[in-house]
């Protein structure tokens, strides 16, 4: 009986449950490769925390037990494993070549580690090489293109700007579709907290996973399907990004202390600027005026069209005689100036990271420090982060294991304001809205941007000088964050344990949005300061019972599983204070402003989950996994509060089941089938809506204060219930031709029903909007990952690996459920934005279009311009047809050269960058001879062919998207060189006599080249921006910030 239990225990360890026990023996051996003994190779007992490193002679000793598996790893060599038998000596000859470890262990939901082959669903695992020490200081962004089915997009290229992550399409219409981040078992708040709306440019707000230091992360698993995420409950229904940090991961640390040091230095620049034309200057209708536009006379014009006989025009500031008497009556040559490029600069990004880890008998520890300083491509855009982390684990002799990890993060970001622009002055302070369309003949950098009173001056006062805005306005952000977990687990017997984990994540985010007095715009002129403080808290408790045992005598059947109880509390406090009318210029504290107003709000939601999961394995080649979870949510009425959602998956490994088919052609084959479901809960407090109360809404001329109380314009819905998402997925994984080709294919179909929608109401109901369960959305897609070892030579070490990812997702709104209402706004404006329309792709772009007659001809008005159809018309589909990534890695000895291409096919974008530059006649695309006239193709209102001639100004100004939304829509198909890198690691032999275990360095460039094929050539526009910010809006560019390119080097050291 006793021995049987020990035996079960061994298997239990093999299945990587985190137990360890006594009665081990000492195993020793030599690790070598073709060239001789390997110093510094890692030796780990699989599924345990026991590990060591070989000494200079390649020797090691380790405590292990018969039946356990030793894992050997060494950089540049294929991982190897060997069972411990009766012998106390295990020698290992390691071989070159990467390739996927067939018995790869991956982290699945609730931190449960499983052999990959036992999984009936897709899990993408990303190694630290792919995101650590990269130019992107944002871990989300560093994963771009790495995993099929995961669409990651930046909001802009500004340092610290938000990142949108969508896994397997948008499943909810107005709810969040962002994945859940889980860091060392802690549900990690990854919100993008925006103050104000997209019009004010709140979209450059950071996404809070920015608080993670990529260098401190050990590994990332992405759980894409619902069968993988069920245990996380509703929070995980949009996918889960599981992050294991170095401090949270204590299993692979060697006995002796190891120090990892890495340093990187990168440069960041605007990815590209438009090619400005130098033929025409400021004006309209070929006449020189200080218009917003660049439709003036040709340079070289003299004595006509508003240009003086000597080729000059009045000095731009001649009209500001009070501010600049020196320019009064002066003239300047009418010529072009380099007035946009100097606005941008080259920023530097430096990251330093030190990680120290080690272990003694039954205790391990890890301490890390990381610091990043990231300066963007314009002044006043910086991002700094300090990460301090520590973790440890100890196992007591009585069977209790205690572990903890914690991290403190401090981030500070400064950025200029980036309100949405339409090619004329934005409604709120904005730098990009006003710089790109600067007329060619205005010498922006040759004249002052402020007067003696620090007021903005420009060639016209209704455009704040962008240089002034850059110096005087900002949208800054600071975060102080603590997160950590404390875990205690207790072995009940040899095959089961009970564990309790408390995880908490707490941060305080302060934002400061300000503009000094003097921009000469309505209301902002006096200065404005807004500060917000958000305190965000997650408490997550998990009490679980875990077991793993054989169920028959022949050990053919194995069962493992977990039952858990998981209450979670999420709360947020927000305090908001704003002030206006600045007293002393430049002093940005509330007491320096005359007027103040503010509000505060708090929110708390509890979700209590009860879950169970079990995997039944037969002979280690067929595995059935059953899972279920019931969640109860505190912000719904009692009858609709809870929802149970089950999932099941099956994994079958034919190559293990039928040894005969295994050969050189087929090395490994796995088929999987999964069904999963999950719930989605509404935002807090949607069933009962309180009153709007406001104080000092009005002050009578007699000085009486008037306060008001009124019903809200939002209607509560007591019948609101959770939405349900269901998904079926099928997959094939395989290794073929001596492991030269690897395949990972998933096909899925996901349907969300009873979708919670924030729907507009006809205000005549008394209310403007409500929350309701109505719609249905489906996602069907294919994810394909292919690995190929093109060259794998043994002699000189030359290898060439290609990884190709392909993603195609069809995201359709099946049903809107709003009766005869056929469209529902998702994001943007009500007359130009993303909409859900029955039977159409999710988020189609609707707006105004060119009027067409019954035959589909464009209709031209009496003035020769197209007539506008202001009825909401579908004008674009922002969803890409497909996306793919091609990663090449070529290694020769210690040198590795890699590059990653990404291609997006299709997907429309509404671009005001394009509209502004073309409508204002600025780029080379508009450098055509403007002296003639044009006749727009189309028909007149009476049906005859249009023959009305219009000037080129009219042609460009009226037909580039300023007036008709349809004309600013472009196909965003693009190809880009996402990354190119060259790295070198010093050969081990050179390091033998040094204290260093590993020295490597690399040169990396990101986004160095891109091409958006269907945009006018000279715009050089990168459509990879999202002006609607992180959320469900896509395919909009409102001049809120261009993309960036980054390049530089990094240096890694281990000793």
């Amino acid at each position: 009986m006793r021995s049987k239990f020990k035996w079960i225990f061994t298997l239990l360890l093999a299945l990587s449950m985190q137990f360890s026990f006594a009665q081990e023996k000492t195993v020793s051996g030599v690790v070598s490769d073709e060239t001789g003994p390997l110093p510094g190779a890692n030796v780990v007992v699989k599924g345990t925390k026991r590990g060591t490193q070989t000494d200079v002679d390649g020797k090691y000793t380790i405590q292990a037990k018969a039946g356990e598996v030793l894992l050997f790893s060494f950089i540049g060599l294929a991982d190897a494993s060997q069972n411990v038998g009766s012998s106390n000596t295990v020698n290992m000859l390691m071989k070159a070549g990467g390739g996927i470890d067939l018995n790869e262990v991956v982290v699945t939901s609730q931190g449960i580690k499983k052999e990959k082959k036992a999984l009936g669903y897709a899990v993408a695992t990303i190694k630290s090489e792919d995101f650590a020490s990269k130019p992107s200081t944002d871990v989300g962004r560093a994963l771009t293109g790495k995993a099929p089915g995961v669409n990651i997009q930046q909001t802009s290229g500004l340092s610290g700007s938000g990142t949108n992550i969508i896994i397997r399409g948008y499943a909810s219409i107005t709810g969040s579709n962002q994945p859940l981040f889980v860091v060392d078992g802690i549900p990690f708040n990854a919100d993008t907290n925006q103050d104000g709306n997209f019009l004010e440019g709140s979209t450059n707000a950071s996404s809070r996973f920015l608080d993670l230091d990529p260098n401190s992360i050990e590994s990332i698993s992405i759980l894409k399907g619902l069968s993988a995420t069920t245990l996380y409950g509703s929070a995980g229904r949009s996918g889960v990004i599981l992050i294991t940090t170095k401090s949270g991961n204590t299993k692979d640390i060697n006995k002796k202390m190891q120090v990892n040091y890495s340093q990187s230095l990168y440069m960041t620049e605007i990815s590209d600027l438009p090619d400005y034309q130098n033929r025409y200057g400021n004006g309209f209708d070929n006449n020189y005026t200080t218009a917003f536009s660049n439709w003036g006379p040709e340079f070289g014009t003299r004595g006509t069209q508003g240009i003086g006989a000597d080729g000059t025009v009045p000095h731009w500031y001649a009209y500001l005689a009070n501010d600049f008497p020196q320019f009064a009556g002066k003239t300047v040559p009418y010529q072009s100036h380099d007035n946009v490029k100097p606005f941008f600069s080259t920023g530097t990004v430096s990251t330093t990271s030190v990680n120290i880890g080690g272990r003694s008998e039954n205790t391990s520890y890890n301490v890390g420090v990381g610091h990043t300083r990231d300066a963007g491509f314009i002044e006043h855009n910086t991002y700094q982060r300090l990460n301090l982390s520590t973790g440890g684990s100890t196992k007591l002799s009585n069977g209790l294991t205690l572990s903890a990890s914690m991290q403190y993060v401090r981030t500070d970001k400064t950025a200029p304001p980036t309100a949405a622009g339409f090619g004329s002055n934005a409604i709120a302070p904005s730098v990009f809205s006003n710089i790109l369309y600067t007329p060619r003949s205005f010498d922006l950098f040759g004249v002052p941007y402020e007067n003696a009173d620090h007021q903005s001056v420009n060639y016209r006062l209704d455009i704040p000088n962008p240089r002034w805005t850059l110096k005087n306005a900002g949208d800054d952000e600071g975060v102080r964050r603590f997160f950590g977990n404390f875990t205690a687990s207790y072995e009940l017997n040899s095959w089961s344990n009970v564990s309790y984990r408390l995880a908490l994540d707490n941060y305080t985010q302060t934002k400061k949005y300000y503009i000094n007095k003097g921009n000469r715009q309505p209301f902002d002129e006096e200065g404005y300061l807004r500060t917000t403080v958000r305190e965000n808290n997650i408490y997550d408790h998990t009490l679980s019972y875990n077991f793993d045992t054989k169920i028959d005598k022949n050990s053919n059947w194995n069962i493992d599983g977990t039952i858990g109880f998981n209450p979670r509390q999420e709360s947020q406090n927000l305090t908001y204070l704003f002030s206006n009318v600045q007293f002393v210029y430049g002093f940005l504290e509330h007491q320096n402003f005359e007027f103040h107003d503010g509000f505060s709000a708090r929110e708390n939601t509890n979700t209590v989950g009860l879950y169970g999961s079990t995997t039944i394995g037969f002979k280690k080649y067929i595995f059935l996994n059953l899972q279920g979870r019931n969640d109860w949510y505190s912000s719904l009425q009692k009858d609709y509060r809870g929802l149970f959602y089950p999932s099941a998956s099956l994994s079958f490994v034919p190559t293990d089941a039928f040894e005969s088919i295994k050969g050189n052609a087929i090395n490994y084959l796995k088929l999987r089938l999964g069904y999963g479901s999950s719930a989605g809960f509404p935002d807090a407090y949607k069933t009962i809506i309180g009153l709007d109360s406001n104080t000092k809404v009005f002050l009578t001329q007699e000085g009486d204060v008037v306060n008001t109380i009124a019903p809200s314009n939002e209607l509560g819905n007591a019948n609101l219930k959770p939405e349900l998402v269901k998904e079926v997925e099928f997959g094939v994984e395989g290794k073929f031709f001596n492991n030269r080709i690897g395949l990972d294919l998933s096909i899925y179909s996901k349907i969300s029903t009873d979708l919670i929608v924030e729907r507009e109401l006809d205000p005549s109901t008394g209310y403007d909007f409500t929350t309701d369960n109505v719609a249905q959305v489906s996602n069907k897609g294919i994810e394909l990952g292919l690995n190929m070892s093109v060259i794998r030579t043994k002699t000189d070490g030359l290898t060439w690996d290609i990884t190709a990812n392909f993603t195609k997702n069809k995201n359709i709104v099946d049903k809107l459920g709003l009766g005869s209402v056929k469209t529902l706004g998702i994001a943007g404006f009500t007359n130009l934005g993303n909409f859900a329309a029955e039977g159409r792709p999710y988020g189609i772009i609707m707006g105004s279009s060119i009027k067409r007659d019954a035959n589909g001809n464009y209709v031209v008005g009496a003035d020769g311009n197209y007539l506008v159809n202001t009825d909401l018309t579908e004008i674009g589909d922002p969803n890409a047809d497909w996306r793919s990534t091609l990663i090449n890695e070529i290694s020769y000895k210690n040198i590795t050269f890699g590059f990653q291409f990404e291609y997006q096919k299709g997907g429309d974008i509404y671009s005001t960058t394009a509209a502004a530059l073309l409508s204002r006649g600025l780029t080379e695309d508009t450098a055509y001879d403007r002296s003639g006239t044009v006749v727009l193709p189309g028909v007149n209102q009476n049906g005859t062919i249009n023959t009305t001639q219009i000037g080129y100004t009219q042609y460009g100004f009226n037909n580039s998207g300023f007036f008709i939304n349809e004309q600013a829509i472009y196909d965003a198909t693009n190809l880009r060189l996402r990354e190119i890198s060259l790295s070198y690691s010093l050969p081990k032999k050179f390091l033998e006599k040094t204290p260093f275990g590993n020295i490597s360095m690399s040169i990396v460039g990101q986004n160095l080249w891109f091409k958006a094929f269907n945009f006018p050539t000279h715009l050089n526009f990168d459509p990879e921006v999202m002006s609607l910010g992180v959320g469900n809006g896509q395919g909009f560019d409102y001049l809120t910030g261009p993309t960036a390119k980054r390049y530089g080097f990094n240096f890694n050291l281990t000793f």
Binding site: L400, Q637, N707
Partner: protein, 587 residues
């Protein structure tokens, strides 16, 4: 050993219990702790909300009605096709119904608390809002409106049936507000009539009068078979707005920030950026159309003039002719030939054509005249020149702006004039006089149309010229200015009387409606109703582009109702509201 083990178990258990205590397990948290519970809907404060929302609603109605009736310049498009979209009406529609909903929800509590004054006054405001909605949009949700979850797609009731219902509601409101069980004497804030229930009743009766006359061509459709009789009974009762103290208007404050209590047009025009353009036609109708001598700056010319001129408008720049070189709408653009069409020319002086570019550029010669007001023509959607500090802005009345001071920029961050302490006029004594004149002329109601016409002009002039005089920042008028105004207070009405006397038939009504139009400055709802009902003023400046498409015979239903309520009728701007029976082709 065993004991130690148990201690550990105990510690584990207590830790779990202490951390995951009720706090995280409490599942009944459906109410937002940061908003007030419904039980706090106190009628006093809901009435405050209603009182403050009313001018906001009128202002959003003005955004459309003032522009199609050439008070403010229509610059959103160059034809009627592209000037307004349904989304432009979202705010108006939602402000109206939000307000109506508040009044509905306050009622039970108001009755319980015996807050009859607040309830009655709110109900009268409700009637004003409803009639304005019918006047603007035609059919509107009424019987099925304001039901929340019980009906999210209310049907639209015919404008006539709603009109009939409003009449009944007004009668009921007059009873409610006079309920003797009202808790008189409690603190309440009445921003309109200083807690005088009688004045609210006067307003209610005048609203009925206004409805009778507005709907006079379709009386039977809303249950008023004898319109003349109905009008007469109100006039005979004598309880209608006929003194300035009874004028229905909202008095703005002069606080710029926290809260901003100023007139919305002051907010727009007196901060920075120039603000909305005033229509050239309106400024022309006040001056050049009547042949009055040109005006330089803000000084008053000798001779007859409209004494309200410099109270209505303020010139930032004395001479619009000196900046045409630096703008791109003037050079090379000839006066459109249809602007020379006599149908748009002056009603009073032969040969004075409709203005172009500036209020007094009335002839076809190329030179821009030196004097005049810088506004915009109807349907001029051209780019914006650098004219922030040159545009003519609203004056003392009704927006609480600048008057009489020598020209100068008002783009100074709200420091000029009466600081925005203006009014939102909604129903004034002078308008009632014009309505009466119309009733006498068109319905043969007993009375003296000439006397009402004269009283209308005089009351308007008195109100405007005395407006804001008690305010600290009121300009000091020179002796010259004072005597000039005093003289014109006599000369101008006399001038208009000669025109009235000389006119016959419809022309007489047109002269009345034109003066009504000028007295209604700041309120587009009246002028929009009047234009559709009578076709006057008939010489409105046409759009710059000749083919402008059909006029807006009604406002567009908001995008929020079009998109979300399948019962919304199609947005056809040529479909007339029920009382628009004259079938006049408007432009």
């Amino acid at each position: 050993m065993k004991m130690k083990r148990n201690i550990f178990k105990l510690i584990l258990l207590t830790t779990i219990i202490s951390f995951s205590s009720c706090e995280t397990l409490d599942l009944d948290q459906t109410e937002n702790p940061s908003t007030l519970n419904q039980s706090f809907l106190d009628p006093i404060y809901t009435f405050n909300y209603v009182q403050l929302q009313l001018p906001v609603f009128v202002n959003s109605a003005n955004a459309f009605t003032q522009r199609v009736t050439r008070q403010m310049a229509m610059t959103g498009g160059n034809t009627y096709d592209n000037s307004f979209e349904p989304v432009n009406f979202d705010r108006n529609w939602s402000q109206a119904y939000n307000m109506l909903n508040a009044i509905k929800l306050m009622e039970p509590r108001a009755i319980q608390d015996q807050r009859y004054f607040e309830l009655g006054a709110s109900k009268i405001i409700r009637c004003y809002v409803l009639m304005t909605l019918v006047d603007m949009y035609g059919d509107i949700p009424y019987t099925e409106a304001l039901l929340g979850n019980d009906n999210i797609t209310p049907k639209f009731d015919s404008g006539a049936s709603v009109y009939a219902a409003i009449l009944a509601e007004l009668d009921q409101a007059m009873i409610v507000i006079k309920n003797p069980e009202d808790r008189l004497g409690d603190v309440r804030q009445d921003l309109y009539y200083d807690e005088d229930a009688n004045k609210w009743v006067t307003l209610a009766k005048t609203l009925k009068l206004k409805m009778y006359i507005t709907g006079r061509l379709a009386g039977s459709e809303f249950g008023v078979n004898d319109v003349a009789g109905a009008v007469t009974s109100i006039l005979d009762g004598g309880d209608y707005i006929d003194t300035e103290a009874e004028d229905f208007g909202f008095r703005y404050g002069n606080s710029r920030f926290t809260p901003n209590t100023r007139h919305p047009l002051y907010n727009d025009q007196y901060e920075a950026g120039g603000g909305a353009y005033i229509a050239n036609y309106y400024m022309w109708a006040m001056s050049s159309e009547k042949g009055f001598s040109p005006v330089y700056g803000n000084s008053l010319p000798s001779g007859t003039n409209d004494p309200r001129l410099h109270y209505y408008f303020y010139k930032q720049n004395p001479d619009p002719s000196d900046f045409n070189t630096n703008t791109f709408i003037l050079p090379g653009r000839a006066r459109p030939s249809h602007y020379n069409d006599p149908q748009y020319a002056s009603e009073y002086v032969a040969g004075v054509l409709t203005p172009y570019v500036v209020s007094n550029w009335t002839n076809t010669s190329a030179a821009v005249p030196a004097d005049g007001f810088w506004g915009r023509d109807h349907g001029d959607n051209a780019g914006i020149p650098q004219d922030n500090d040159k545009r003519t802005v609203g004056g003392i009345y009704p927006i609480g702006g600048q008057g009489f001071i020598n020209p100068g920029t008002v783009q100074t961050g709200g420091t000029r004039g009466l600081l925005g302490a203006g009014i939102m006029p909604m129903l004034l004594t002078s308008w009632v006089h014009f309505l009466k004149a119309e009733a006498i002329l068109e319905l043969s109601v007993a009375g003296d149309a000439r006397a009402e016409f004269l009283s209308g002009i005089n009351t308007s002039i008195e109100k405007v010229t005395n407006f804001g005089k008690d305010q600290e920042s009121y300009p000091t008028l020179t002796q010259n200015q004072q005597s000039n105004i005093a003289a014109n207070k006599i000369a101008y009405p006399a001038f208009m009387l000669t025109k009235f006397d000389a006119a016959t038939g419809d022309d007489r009504l047109e002269i009345v409606m034109k003066e009504y139009y000028l007295a209604a400055w700041g309120n587009g709802i009246e002028t929009y109703n009047n234009y559709r009902r009578t076709g006057f003023p008939s010489n409105f400046q046409p759009t710059l582009q000749q083919a402008s498409g059909a006029f807006y015979y009604r406002a567009l239903y908001s995008a929020s109702t079009v998109n979300n309520n399948p019962n919304t009728p199609a947005n056809d701007r040529t479909r007339r509201v029920f009382w628009d029976k004259a079938n006049i082709t408007l432009h």
